[in-house]
Symmetry: C2
Subunit: 214 residues, 2 copies
Protein backbone atom coordinates (compact mmCIF):
# COMPACT_ATOMS: atom_id res chain seq x y z
CA UNK A 1 0.00 0.00 0.00
CA UNK A 2 2.93 2.19 0.42
CA UNK A 3 3.39 1.74 -3.28
CA UNK A 4 -0.28 2.36 -4.07
CA UNK A 5 -0.20 5.49 -2.02
CA UNK A 6 2.91 6.62 -3.77
CA UNK A 7 1.33 6.05 -7.13
CA UNK A 8 -1.78 7.88 -6.05
CA UNK A 9 0.25 10.82 -5.02
CA UNK A 10 2.26 10.63 -8.15
CA UNK A 11 -0.87 10.54 -10.24
CA UNK A 12 -2.28 13.58 -8.56
CA UNK A 13 1.04 15.33 -8.89
CA UNK A 14 1.10 14.55 -12.58
CA UNK A 15 -2.41 15.85 -13.00
CA UNK A 16 -1.47 19.00 -11.17
CA UNK A 17 1.56 19.34 -13.37
CA UNK A 18 -0.55 19.12 -16.46
CA UNK A 19 -2.99 21.70 -15.18
CA UNK A 20 -0.12 24.01 -14.47
CA UNK A 21 1.28 23.49 -17.91
CA UNK A 22 -2.04 24.27 -19.50
CA UNK A 23 -2.34 27.42 -17.46
CA UNK A 24 1.16 28.37 -18.51
CA UNK A 25 0.17 27.66 -22.04
CA UNK A 26 -2.77 29.98 -21.85
CA UNK A 27 -0.81 32.85 -20.41
CA UNK A 28 2.06 32.42 -22.80
CA UNK A 29 -0.41 32.41 -25.64
CA UNK A 30 -1.80 35.65 -24.30
CA UNK A 31 1.31 37.50 -23.15
CA UNK A 32 4.01 36.07 -25.36
CA UNK A 33 7.46 34.97 -24.27
CA UNK A 34 7.69 37.62 -21.58
CA UNK A 35 5.10 35.91 -19.44
CA UNK A 36 6.11 36.18 -15.80
CA UNK A 37 6.04 33.39 -13.29
CA UNK A 38 3.63 35.42 -11.20
CA UNK A 39 1.25 35.72 -14.10
CA UNK A 40 1.39 32.02 -14.82
CA UNK A 41 0.85 31.16 -11.19
CA UNK A 42 -2.10 33.53 -11.03
CA UNK A 43 -3.61 32.01 -14.13
CA UNK A 44 -3.29 28.60 -12.53
CA UNK A 45 -4.99 29.93 -9.42
CA UNK A 46 -1.99 29.40 -7.20
CA UNK A 47 1.22 31.17 -6.28
CA UNK A 48 4.81 31.10 -7.41
CA UNK A 49 6.49 28.67 -5.02
CA UNK A 50 4.31 25.82 -6.23
CA UNK A 51 5.49 26.42 -9.74
CA UNK A 52 9.03 26.30 -8.49
CA UNK A 53 8.36 23.10 -6.59
CA UNK A 54 7.10 21.49 -9.77
CA UNK A 55 9.54 22.81 -12.30
CA UNK A 56 12.61 23.89 -10.39
CA UNK A 57 13.10 27.17 -12.14
CA UNK A 58 11.80 29.07 -15.11
CA UNK A 59 14.00 27.10 -17.42
CA UNK A 60 12.40 23.91 -16.19
CA UNK A 61 8.94 25.20 -16.85
CA UNK A 62 10.05 26.41 -20.22
CA UNK A 63 11.54 23.04 -21.00
CA UNK A 64 8.38 21.20 -20.03
CA UNK A 65 6.19 23.55 -21.98
CA UNK A 66 8.49 23.45 -24.96
CA UNK A 67 8.55 19.69 -24.91
CA UNK A 68 4.78 19.53 -25.23
CA UNK A 69 4.61 21.80 -28.20
CA UNK A 70 7.71 20.44 -29.79
CA UNK A 71 6.41 16.92 -29.53
CA UNK A 72 3.12 17.93 -31.06
CA UNK A 73 4.78 19.80 -33.87
CA UNK A 74 7.19 16.99 -34.53
CA UNK A 75 4.30 14.58 -34.76
CA UNK A 76 2.69 16.70 -37.44
CA UNK A 77 5.96 16.98 -39.27
CA UNK A 78 6.52 13.26 -39.14
CA UNK A 79 3.07 12.72 -40.56
CA UNK A 80 3.83 15.04 -43.45
CA UNK A 81 7.17 13.36 -43.94
CA UNK A 82 5.51 9.95 -44.05
CA UNK A 83 2.76 10.78 -46.50
CA UNK A 84 2.53 8.50 -49.54
CA UNK A 85 3.87 10.79 -52.23
CA UNK A 86 7.11 11.51 -53.98
CA UNK A 87 10.01 13.26 -52.37
CA UNK A 88 9.27 16.73 -53.58
CA UNK A 89 5.67 16.57 -52.47
CA UNK A 90 6.66 15.33 -49.06
CA UNK A 91 9.18 18.10 -48.65
CA UNK A 92 6.57 20.64 -49.59
CA UNK A 93 4.05 19.12 -47.24
CA UNK A 94 6.56 19.26 -44.41
CA UNK A 95 7.40 22.89 -45.06
CA UNK A 96 3.74 23.75 -45.27
CA UNK A 97 2.95 21.94 -42.05
CA UNK A 98 5.59 23.86 -40.19
CA UNK A 99 4.55 27.18 -41.64
CA UNK A 100 0.90 26.51 -40.91
CA UNK A 101 1.80 25.77 -37.31
CA UNK A 102 3.72 28.96 -36.74
CA UNK A 103 1.08 30.90 -38.58
CA UNK A 104 -1.66 29.50 -36.39
CA UNK A 105 0.01 30.30 -33.07
CA UNK A 106 2.75 32.85 -33.45
CA UNK A 107 2.93 33.59 -29.74
CA UNK A 108 3.72 30.03 -28.85
CA UNK A 109 6.15 29.86 -31.68
CA UNK A 110 7.99 32.92 -30.44
CA UNK A 111 8.10 31.52 -26.96
CA UNK A 112 9.66 28.34 -28.24
CA UNK A 113 12.21 30.13 -30.36
CA UNK A 114 13.17 32.90 -28.00
CA UNK A 115 13.23 31.67 -24.43
CA UNK A 116 14.82 34.96 -23.35
CA UNK A 117 17.43 32.86 -21.70
CA UNK A 118 19.18 35.69 -19.89
CA UNK A 119 19.62 34.79 -16.27
CA UNK A 120 20.03 37.43 -13.61
CA UNK A 121 19.64 35.28 -10.53
CA UNK A 122 22.22 35.68 -7.85
CA UNK A 123 23.52 32.35 -8.89
CA UNK A 124 25.64 32.89 -11.99
CA UNK A 125 25.75 29.18 -12.73
CA UNK A 126 22.87 29.46 -15.11
CA UNK A 127 23.65 27.57 -18.23
CA UNK A 128 24.88 30.25 -20.55
CA UNK A 129 26.16 27.66 -22.97
CA UNK A 130 22.56 27.07 -23.96
CA UNK A 131 21.85 29.36 -26.81
CA UNK A 132 19.52 28.65 -29.61
CA UNK A 133 16.09 27.23 -29.06
CA UNK A 134 16.02 23.53 -28.35
CA UNK A 135 13.17 23.27 -30.78
CA UNK A 136 15.46 24.01 -33.67
CA UNK A 137 17.93 21.43 -32.50
CA UNK A 138 15.34 18.76 -32.02
CA UNK A 139 13.78 19.40 -35.39
CA UNK A 140 17.19 19.33 -36.96
CA UNK A 141 18.12 16.04 -35.37
CA UNK A 142 14.78 14.53 -36.22
CA UNK A 143 14.98 15.53 -39.83
CA UNK A 144 18.55 14.32 -39.96
CA UNK A 145 17.42 10.94 -38.80
CA UNK A 146 14.71 10.73 -41.41
CA UNK A 147 17.13 11.75 -44.12
CA UNK A 148 19.72 9.30 -43.00
CA UNK A 149 17.17 6.49 -42.81
CA UNK A 150 15.76 6.99 -46.23
CA UNK A 151 18.44 8.33 -48.47
CA UNK A 152 21.53 6.58 -49.62
CA UNK A 153 24.17 9.19 -49.05
CA UNK A 154 27.18 6.96 -49.32
CA UNK A 155 30.14 7.11 -46.94
CA UNK A 156 29.97 9.85 -44.37
CA UNK A 157 26.26 9.91 -44.98
CA UNK A 158 25.31 10.20 -41.36
CA UNK A 159 27.24 13.39 -40.91
CA UNK A 160 25.94 14.78 -44.15
CA UNK A 161 22.41 13.99 -43.06
CA UNK A 162 22.85 15.87 -39.84
CA UNK A 163 24.23 18.91 -41.57
CA UNK A 164 21.35 18.84 -43.98
CA UNK A 165 18.82 18.30 -41.26
CA UNK A 166 19.93 21.32 -39.31
CA UNK A 167 20.44 23.34 -42.44
CA UNK A 168 17.01 22.67 -43.84
CA UNK A 169 15.36 23.31 -40.52
CA UNK A 170 17.21 26.59 -40.24
CA UNK A 171 16.16 27.59 -43.70
CA UNK A 172 12.57 26.80 -42.84
CA UNK A 173 12.80 28.69 -39.60
CA UNK A 174 14.41 31.86 -40.87
CA UNK A 175 12.25 32.07 -43.94
CA UNK A 176 9.19 31.38 -41.83
CA UNK A 177 10.11 33.99 -39.27
CA UNK A 178 10.64 36.59 -41.93
CA UNK A 179 7.49 35.62 -43.74
CA UNK A 180 5.46 35.75 -40.55
CA UNK A 181 6.63 39.29 -39.95
CA UNK A 182 6.18 40.70 -43.43
CA UNK A 183 3.70 38.43 -45.10
CA UNK A 184 5.15 39.16 -48.51
CA UNK A 185 3.38 36.28 -50.19
CA UNK A 186 1.06 33.38 -49.65
CA UNK A 187 2.10 30.29 -47.79
CA UNK A 188 2.01 28.11 -50.86
CA UNK A 189 4.22 30.50 -52.77
CA UNK A 190 6.71 30.46 -49.96
CA UNK A 191 6.67 26.69 -49.86
CA UNK A 192 7.25 26.46 -53.58
CA UNK A 193 10.11 28.93 -53.45
CA UNK A 194 11.86 27.10 -50.66
CA UNK A 195 11.39 23.75 -52.30
CA UNK A 196 12.81 25.20 -55.50
CA UNK A 197 15.83 26.35 -53.55
CA UNK A 198 16.24 22.91 -52.06
CA UNK A 199 15.87 21.43 -55.49
CA UNK A 200 18.96 23.17 -56.70
CA UNK A 201 17.48 25.93 -58.76
CA UNK A 202 20.12 28.21 -57.32
CA UNK A 203 22.78 26.26 -59.15
CA UNK A 204 21.06 26.08 -62.49
CA UNK A 205 19.51 29.49 -62.94
CA UNK A 206 21.15 31.82 -65.46
CA UNK A 207 23.27 34.82 -64.69
CA UNK A 208 21.88 38.21 -65.29
CA UNK A 209 23.07 39.93 -68.46
CA UNK A 210 26.24 41.92 -68.08
CA UNK A 211 28.14 40.43 -65.21
CA UNK A 212 29.28 37.31 -63.45
CA UNK A 213 26.49 35.56 -61.64
CA UNK A 214 26.14 34.93 -57.95
Amino acid sequence: MDTTQRTDQQRSADRRRRELLEAADRVVLRDGPQASMNAIAAEAGITKPILYRHFGDKGGLYAALAKRHTDALLDSLRAALDAPADRRERVEATLDTYLAAIEARPQVYRFLMHPAEGGQPGDPGFDVGKHSAPLLRRMGEELAQVIEERLDLGPGGQQLARVWGHGIVGMMHAAGDWWLGERPCSRTELVRSLADLLWGRLATVDDRLGGPGF
Copy 2:
Protein backbone atom coordinates in the same frame (compact mmCIF):
# COMPACT_ATOMS: atom_id res chain seq x y z
CA MET B 1 31.03 79.73 -34.17
CA ASP B 2 27.97 78.19 -32.87
CA THR B 3 28.40 75.60 -35.56
CA THR B 4 32.09 74.96 -34.84
CA GLN B 5 31.33 74.60 -31.18
CA ARG B 6 28.53 72.21 -31.97
CA THR B 7 30.79 70.11 -34.14
CA ASP B 8 33.42 70.05 -31.44
CA GLN B 9 30.93 68.79 -28.96
CA GLN B 10 29.58 66.36 -31.42
CA ARG B 11 33.05 65.06 -32.14
CA SER B 12 33.79 64.49 -28.51
CA ALA B 13 30.41 62.90 -28.02
CA ASP B 14 31.09 60.58 -30.92
CA ARG B 15 34.46 59.67 -29.50
CA ARG B 16 32.88 58.97 -26.17
CA ARG B 17 30.27 56.89 -27.84
CA ARG B 18 32.91 54.83 -29.53
CA GLU B 19 34.79 54.32 -26.32
CA LEU B 20 31.62 53.18 -24.67
CA LEU B 21 30.88 50.80 -27.49
CA GLU B 22 34.34 49.33 -27.26
CA ALA B 23 33.98 48.86 -23.55
CA ALA B 24 30.62 47.21 -24.14
CA ASP B 25 32.28 45.06 -26.71
CA ARG B 26 34.90 43.91 -24.27
CA VAL B 27 32.44 43.02 -21.56
CA VAL B 28 30.08 41.27 -23.94
CA LEU B 29 33.00 39.30 -25.24
CA ARG B 30 33.77 38.32 -21.67
CA ASP B 31 30.33 37.80 -20.16
CA GLY B 32 28.24 36.83 -23.14
CA PRO B 33 24.79 38.09 -23.96
CA GLN B 34 23.82 38.48 -20.31
CA ALA B 35 26.17 41.39 -19.81
CA SER B 36 24.52 43.90 -17.52
CA MET B 37 24.41 47.61 -18.01
CA ASN B 38 26.21 48.03 -14.72
CA ALA B 39 29.04 45.80 -15.85
CA ILE B 40 29.39 47.65 -19.12
CA ALA B 41 29.38 51.00 -17.37
CA ALA B 42 32.00 49.78 -14.93
CA GLU B 43 34.19 48.50 -17.73
CA ALA B 44 33.92 51.91 -19.37
CA GLY B 45 34.93 53.52 -16.06
CA ILE B 46 31.66 55.34 -15.63
CA THR B 47 28.17 54.66 -14.33
CA LYS B 48 24.87 53.63 -15.79
CA PRO B 49 23.08 56.92 -16.45
CA ILE B 50 25.71 57.96 -18.95
CA LEU B 51 25.10 54.86 -20.92
CA TYR B 52 21.43 55.68 -20.92
CA ARG B 53 22.12 59.24 -21.99
CA HIS B 54 24.02 57.93 -24.98
CA PHE B 55 21.93 54.99 -26.02
CA GLY B 56 18.49 55.58 -24.59
CA ASP B 57 17.95 52.09 -23.30
CA LYS B 58 19.50 48.67 -23.47
CA GLY B 59 17.93 48.07 -26.82
CA GLY B 60 19.65 51.16 -28.15
CA LEU B 61 23.02 50.03 -26.95
CA TYR B 62 22.36 46.61 -28.32
CA ALA B 63 21.35 48.09 -31.65
CA ALA B 64 24.48 50.23 -31.86
CA LEU B 65 26.73 47.36 -30.90
CA ALA B 66 24.97 45.01 -33.25
CA LYS B 67 25.25 47.48 -36.07
CA ARG B 68 29.01 47.61 -35.72
CA HIS B 69 29.48 43.89 -35.83
CA THR B 70 26.82 43.34 -38.40
CA ASP B 71 28.36 45.92 -40.68
CA ALA B 72 31.77 44.35 -40.28
CA LEU B 73 30.45 40.88 -40.92
CA LEU B 74 28.45 42.01 -43.90
CA ASP B 75 31.52 43.64 -45.35
CA SER B 76 33.40 40.36 -45.13
CA LEU B 77 30.49 38.53 -46.64
CA ARG B 78 30.24 40.99 -49.48
CA ALA B 79 33.92 40.55 -50.16
CA ALA B 80 33.50 36.81 -50.34
CA LEU B 81 30.46 37.26 -52.52
CA ASP B 82 32.41 39.51 -54.88
CA ALA B 83 35.47 37.32 -55.28
CA PRO B 84 36.45 36.53 -58.87
CA ALA B 85 35.40 32.91 -59.06
CA ASP B 86 32.48 30.86 -60.19
CA ARG B 87 29.20 30.72 -58.38
CA ARG B 88 29.85 27.61 -56.37
CA GLU B 89 33.19 28.84 -55.15
CA ARG B 90 31.71 32.14 -54.14
CA VAL B 91 28.94 30.45 -52.22
CA GLU B 92 31.43 28.30 -50.41
CA ALA B 93 33.60 31.29 -49.64
CA THR B 94 30.63 33.13 -48.22
CA LEU B 95 29.61 30.23 -46.02
CA ASP B 96 33.16 29.81 -44.85
CA THR B 97 33.50 33.48 -44.05
CA TYR B 98 30.40 33.43 -41.91
CA LEU B 99 31.42 30.27 -40.11
CA ALA B 100 34.91 31.57 -39.49
CA ALA B 101 33.44 34.70 -37.97
CA ILE B 102 31.18 32.92 -35.54
CA GLU B 103 33.94 30.48 -34.74
CA ALA B 104 36.34 33.26 -33.93
CA ARG B 105 34.04 35.11 -31.54
CA PRO B 106 31.18 32.96 -30.35
CA GLN B 107 30.28 35.25 -27.48
CA VAL B 108 29.68 38.19 -29.75
CA TYR B 109 27.82 35.98 -32.11
CA ARG B 110 25.50 34.79 -29.35
CA PHE B 111 24.90 38.33 -28.28
CA LEU B 112 23.91 39.28 -31.77
CA MET B 113 21.62 36.33 -32.22
CA HIS B 114 19.93 36.34 -28.84
CA PRO B 115 19.33 39.86 -27.63
CA ALA B 116 17.16 38.51 -24.80
CA GLU B 117 14.48 40.81 -26.03
CA GLY B 118 12.15 40.44 -23.05
CA GLY B 119 11.09 43.82 -21.75
CA GLN B 120 10.05 44.27 -18.16
CA PRO B 121 10.16 48.03 -17.92
CA GLY B 122 7.21 49.65 -16.27
CA ASP B 123 6.31 50.82 -19.70
CA PRO B 124 4.51 47.95 -21.40
CA GLY B 125 4.81 49.55 -24.81
CA PHE B 126 8.05 47.79 -25.47
CA ASP B 127 8.04 46.38 -28.93
CA VAL B 128 7.17 42.76 -28.43
CA GLY B 129 6.62 42.32 -32.12
CA LYS B 130 10.37 42.34 -32.56
CA HIS B 131 11.51 38.80 -32.38
CA SER B 132 14.40 37.29 -34.18
CA ALA B 133 17.81 38.85 -34.28
CA PRO B 134 18.12 41.81 -36.61
CA LEU B 135 21.37 40.35 -37.81
CA LEU B 136 19.56 37.48 -39.47
CA ARG B 137 17.14 39.83 -41.14
CA ARG B 138 19.83 42.12 -42.41
CA MET B 139 21.91 39.29 -43.75
CA GLY B 140 18.85 37.85 -45.39
CA GLU B 141 17.93 41.11 -47.06
CA GLU B 142 21.49 41.73 -48.14
CA LEU B 143 21.85 38.33 -49.67
CA ALA B 144 18.48 38.71 -51.32
CA GLN B 145 19.68 41.87 -52.94
CA VAL B 146 22.82 40.25 -54.25
CA ILE B 147 20.84 37.34 -55.61
CA GLU B 148 18.32 39.57 -57.23
CA GLU B 149 21.00 41.73 -58.78
CA ARG B 150 22.97 38.96 -60.29
CA LEU B 151 20.63 36.16 -61.16
CA ASP B 152 17.97 36.19 -63.78
CA LEU B 153 15.06 34.68 -61.92
CA GLY B 154 12.34 35.68 -64.32
CA PRO B 155 9.00 37.14 -63.26
CA GLY B 156 8.47 37.30 -59.54
CA GLY B 157 12.21 37.12 -59.20
CA GLN B 158 12.45 39.74 -56.53
CA GLN B 159 10.21 37.85 -54.18
CA LEU B 160 11.96 34.61 -54.93
CA ALA B 161 15.30 36.26 -54.22
CA ARG B 162 14.12 37.42 -50.85
CA VAL B 163 12.82 34.03 -49.89
CA TRP B 164 16.08 32.49 -50.93
CA GLY B 165 18.12 35.13 -49.16
CA HIS B 166 16.41 34.56 -45.86
CA GLY B 167 16.31 30.82 -46.38
CA ILE B 168 19.98 30.49 -47.15
CA VAL B 169 20.95 32.73 -44.29
CA GLY B 170 18.80 30.67 -41.96
CA MET B 171 20.37 27.50 -43.17
CA MET B 172 23.80 28.95 -42.59
CA HIS B 173 22.83 30.16 -39.17
CA ALA B 174 21.21 27.01 -37.86
CA ALA B 175 23.88 24.73 -39.22
CA GLY B 176 26.54 27.04 -37.87
CA ASP B 177 24.97 27.20 -34.46
CA TRP B 178 24.70 23.45 -34.26
CA TRP B 179 28.21 22.98 -35.55
CA LEU B 180 29.59 25.48 -33.09
CA GLY B 181 28.03 23.55 -30.25
CA GLU B 182 28.98 20.05 -31.27
CA ARG B 183 31.91 20.46 -33.59
CA PRO B 184 31.06 17.26 -35.42
CA CYS B 185 33.33 18.01 -38.35
CA SER B 186 35.76 20.50 -39.79
CA ARG B 187 34.66 23.81 -41.16
CA THR B 188 35.50 22.91 -44.72
CA GLU B 189 33.48 19.74 -44.51
CA LEU B 190 30.52 21.67 -43.23
CA VAL B 191 30.87 24.20 -46.00
CA ARG B 192 30.98 21.47 -48.63
CA SER B 193 27.95 19.72 -47.20
CA LEU B 194 25.90 22.89 -47.14
CA ALA B 195 26.94 23.86 -50.63
CA ASP B 196 25.99 20.38 -51.78
CA LEU B 197 22.59 20.85 -50.25
CA LEU B 198 22.19 24.17 -51.99
CA TRP B 199 23.32 22.56 -55.21
CA GLY B 200 20.36 20.27 -55.20
CA ARG B 201 21.96 17.03 -54.13
CA LEU B 202 18.92 16.44 -51.97
CA ALA B 203 16.80 16.10 -55.09
CA THR B 204 19.11 13.83 -57.02
CA VAL B 205 20.43 11.41 -54.43
CA ASP B 206 19.08 7.87 -54.54
CA ASP B 207 16.63 6.33 -52.18
CA ARG B 208 17.81 3.80 -49.76
CA LEU B 209 17.09 0.20 -50.67
CA GLY B 210 13.75 -1.11 -49.53
CA GLY B 211 11.51 1.88 -49.17
CA PRO B 212 10.33 5.13 -50.62
CA GLY B 213 12.86 7.90 -50.29
CA PHE B 214 12.56 11.13 -48.39
